[in-house]
Amino acid sequence: MNIPNELKYTKSHEWLKEGDVVEVGITDFAQDALGDIVFINLPEAGDEVVAGERFGDVESVKAVSDLLSPVSGIICEVNEELLDAPELLNSDPYGAWIIRVEQVNDYEALLDAADYEAHCAEEA
């Protein structure tokens, strides 16, 4: 299970990378539990996201799952490459960012890598 130290995590298995803008994706644990991902529904740049609320969904061969935003803010960029190649979420979960958020003004309860690892161990 790959859980990079420099990232923050949510209990619903999104990762978050802080910087000038906040980058959001789904974790290795999430992609492994979902199985092969075949579709993704993305929001649009300019959309508002709210911490803990849905901003899109991913469909795997098993199920459709909501994507929950770890932050509140405005989406400045979406990774449109994923529309044609959602399998990147499986092959490179930490490279395949889904949205970039600016004007961040609120956060979900975030976990560091160690706490997230413990959380995954509990769920597995």
Partner: protein
């Protein structure tokens, strides 16, 4: 195997017709076909072999054990087929004069009476073609009811997270906002979560009881009371009615409307796309909102399907009900529950039940520990079962159980079949620890092993094209 078009040989025919003894009358050019019809050209032998070969590629309940959870793949008695094949039923046209359709009306009336008795409802329509269509019709009843009372602020339908995916889809199709509520640790409705979700904007609740993990919700009376108290209505998804038919009635649990899958619970053939019948029943106060059919009295209101729906499915269901009778219907339900518990106990000790308690007609195995220890997934086990001559159970559902396999043996299986199935499960469990490799690539004995599911989802090819 070859498609029927690929078997085609130019000029080959099945029937030799006498030459036409009247003068040919050419069709007006405007109506003439612009290109050849290009139907397959085959002899009767070719056609017969084609369909026989096709039938060998499928696995049905007539081939062997088929424990597909929440699908109630029970055996469909031949006597029901015989009733549905009677020329008085197969030869009738829905627009035939009333005097000629009296028998068919009697079938619909009698079937409605029995099904109202079983469900605790007061009125019924047979128009919906299957379960999801029935849900759609039922939730439209709820919508009509609120609209008629001027309560258009009721915009939300509550659906538990263990529900069949069709429930939230139905609510969304009817224009409602779906409120998903979490299940409690025992897989039932979390009363606190329900209370928190209820409000003046609640249109209703959609629920399956017993639920998808095969547990009867002990709080059902409190659940429906809370929804009614908030001004909402309760919709019963009849997917799991087989566990309780003739024993306890959804109407007595507090539900206001319901759909029943005649093609599951009442033993008409299903799988592979129908035809089914999603009979919708409701309490008296909703009956004026039911869709009308041409065979029913009264002025036309909105229909959800032409005429009386899939009528011959209703004939089969009625034949089934009349064969079983008042004693047989609850006995079938009880045997379905007994079989599920017996199979669960026989498998327990290898694969683990997700909820280790007495179940109803189906149960869920949780393979997450097993997968961690062996690397063998629920999918691998499901695929391996195919090589053992069994249809796999439902997998990865319900979503609240990871690595889930959901088994529903139904009442029509013998103890011997259940013992054999349990032995196969125990055997595969052991194999996963000893020699897991072949399980990752199973099945090995079918024409197609593992289809590319990603490709099938992303770029499905659903029809053959000549060019």
């Amino acid at each position: 195997m070859k498609l029927i078009f690929e078997r085609s040989v130019p000029g080959r025919r099945s029937a030799i017709l006498p030459s036409c003894d009247v003068e040919a009358a050419p069709l007006d050019e405007a109506f003439a076909r612009q290109r050849e019809l290009r139907l397959p050209e085959l002899s009767e032998t070719d056609v017969s072999r084609h369909y026989t070969e096709l039938s060998k590629q499928v696995y049905g309940v007539n081939c062997g054990f088929y424990p597909l959870g929440s699908c109630t793949m029970k055996y469909n008695p031949r006597i029901d087929e015989e009733a549905a094949s009677l020329p008085g039923f197969t030869g009738i046209h829905p627009l035939a004069p009333e005097a000629d359709t009296k028998g068919c009306r009697a079938v619909l009336d009698e079937a409605a009476r029995y099904l109202c008795e079983i469900s605790g409802m007061d009125a019924m329509t047979f128009q919906p073609a299957a379960g999801a269509h029935g849900e759609f019709t039922g939730v439209l009843l709820i919508k009509q009811y609120h609209d008629a009372r001027g309560e258009r602020q009721r915009t939300k339908i509550i659906v538990p997270d263990s529900a069949h995916g069709t429930n939230p889809a139905t609510a969304a199709m009817c224009g409602y906002e779906v409120v998903n509520i979490a299940s409690s640790a025992d897989g039932c409705v979390d009363l606190d979560a329900l209370r928190a979700a209820l409000g003046p904007d609640t249109a209703g609740l959609m629920l399956t009881n017993p639920n998808t993990v095969g547990i009867f919700d002990k709080n059902i009376l409190e659940i429906t009371r809370l929804v009614h108290e908030a001004g909402g209505l309760c919709y019963y998804d009849g997917a799991n009615l087989n566990a309780v038919m003739g024993v306890v009635r959804p109407g007595d649990m507090g539900f206001d409307c319901i759909h029943m899958n005649l093609h599951k619970t009442f033993a008409t053939p299903h799988g592979g796309g129908g035809p089914g019948a999603g009979a919708v029943g409701c309490k008296d106060f909703l009956k004026d909102f039911l869709p009308r059919s041409a065979l029913m009295e009264g002025e036309g209101r909105l229909q959800v399907r032409a005429f009386a729906g899939n009528f011959l499915v209703v004939v089969r269901a009625l034949a089934y009900l009349k064969t079983l009778g008042r004693e047989g219907v609850p006995e079938a339900a009880k045997n379905a529950v007994l079989n599920a518990n017996y199979l669960m106990q026989q498998i327990k000790g290898s694969f683990e039940p997700a909820f280790d308690r007495v179940c109803m007609h189906e149960f869920v195995l949780d393979l997450s520990r097993f997968k961690k220890e062996t690397g063998v997934s629920a999918l691998d086990v499901a695929k391996s079962l195919i090589d053992r001559g069994m249809h796999p159970p439902t997998m990865y559902f319900p979503l609240i159980v990871h690595e889930a396999l959901m088994l529903e043996p139904t009442e029509t299986e013998s103890k011997q079949t259940l013992d054999e199935a349990a032995a196969v499960f125990r055997d595969l469990y052991r194999q996963a620890y000893d020699d897991p490799e072949p399980m990752h690539t199973a099945p090995h004995g079918t024409p197609i092993g593992r289809p590319d599911e990603v490709k099938a989802s992303r770029t499905p090819v659903l029809r053959w094209r000549q060019d």
